[in-house]
Symmetry: C2
């Protein structure tokens, strides 16, 4: 059957898992770092800096965009990507909520 049953977890758990999944690949973390460092990058720059084919990078960018962590703006034939403040903040607060309960609690 393999159904996900996401409805059986809280919205916070489901959403944080979704955001975590977006971070679950080193290329996507590298992209976020690039966008943070340069504030905004055209797609081509990102492709040039990653050891992956253009199609693959485009796929990773789409995932980050779909989950709300980055935005892409068409600029002529190029596309300028930047961080999406709303998504970053959401990730920040969801993770902070979990972390505060989890840090410094071990047996």
């Amino acid at each position: 059957m393999t159904r996900t049953k996401t409805d059986l977890f809280t919205p916070e758990e489901t959403r944080l898992a979704e955001l975590a999944k977006a971070l679950a690949h080193p290329a996507r973390i590298a992209i976020l770092k690039m966008l943070a460092a340069k504030n905004a990058c055209i797609c081509g720059e990102i492709v040039d800096e990653l050891p992956l084919a253009q199609a693959t990078v485009s796929q990773h960018l789409k995932e980050l965009k779909n989950v709300g962590l980055i935005k892409g703006e068409i600029d002529g034939p190029k596309v300028c990507y930047c961080l999406n403040d709303d998504g970053i903040k959401e990730l920040h607060s969801l993770w902070a909520a979990l972390e505060s309960t989890v840090i410094a609690k071990c047996c």
Copy 2:
């Protein structure tokens, strides 16, 4: 070919991605929350609280253990799970490093 090329990213990117992947499922986030709340849980309690089969929960526990976020201690026929402070701290610092560069930087 589908090789991962993880060697072409920094160790920090690779490790954070690995830890993020462990958080990339609501059940595993729920497990971490349970362990934080109760400090330690026997496996059976976790199985009872999650809407998943015992075998599936065992698989999720294994993933969290493999990545270093939890520990399991055999206690007779039962197994007592708890958070692994080292892994939690590592996640904390890796995420903090990325977040500090990423927060409040948008176009």
